[in-house]
Symmetry: C2
Subunit: 118 residues, 2 copies
Amino acid sequence: MLIFAIRINVSQSNANPFKESFRDGAGWVDQMPGFISNHVLRPVNEGDPYVVFTIWTSRQDFINCVRSDAFTKGHAQSGTLPKDAFSQSNKLEMHEVVQDSTRPDLPPEPHGGPFKMH
Amino acid sequence: MLIFAIRINVSQSNANPFKESFRDGAGWVDQMPGFISNHVLRPVNEGDPYVVFTIWTSRQDFINCVRSDAFTKGHAQSGTLPKDAFSQSNKLEMHEVVQDSTRPDLPPEPHGGPFKMH
């Protein structure tokens, strides 16, 4: 199981448009094979980023998603957000799930080595 | 719904003891009221932190946990990890869940203002 997170620094004044954009635009991901879930998180403390993360059955499912036409199309939609909504570049993070309390029998995701989006 | 994350930079040589420590020691959290789930994540790319996050039904449930005897006792156990396993101090992050694809009818967690552990 794999988690892919986008960590986004949004200036306070643009926080609401950001949230609406994600609520409206993220539905396409649910249809991808191996997709488990998607969360949108608002930081409690100033200076921490918004986080959008998706959970995948395996690294291969995530890679298949990134290479799909649906991915390109879905990201074109989120381009409607004003450029100055981002006070820094997004940070992408990928983690292998070692333990999930809701699935005690899940074997840890094998270590697949580094991965870069671009 | 609230997510509390500990982001831990572990030097490569100590990565395995770290994981074992968490697998053995994190069971007490499951018993706390309002606890939903706990995940332990291994970074795919060098320089990214290990992440341990717990999901709570509400901010109040998390605060009750932090103030409990079980919390103090549970954290005493994880003190068995060698000090040099941490290349920097841990970073704590708290996020309010705005959207969870597995619970489409979940209302976004209300904005509760800043929170500091210490």
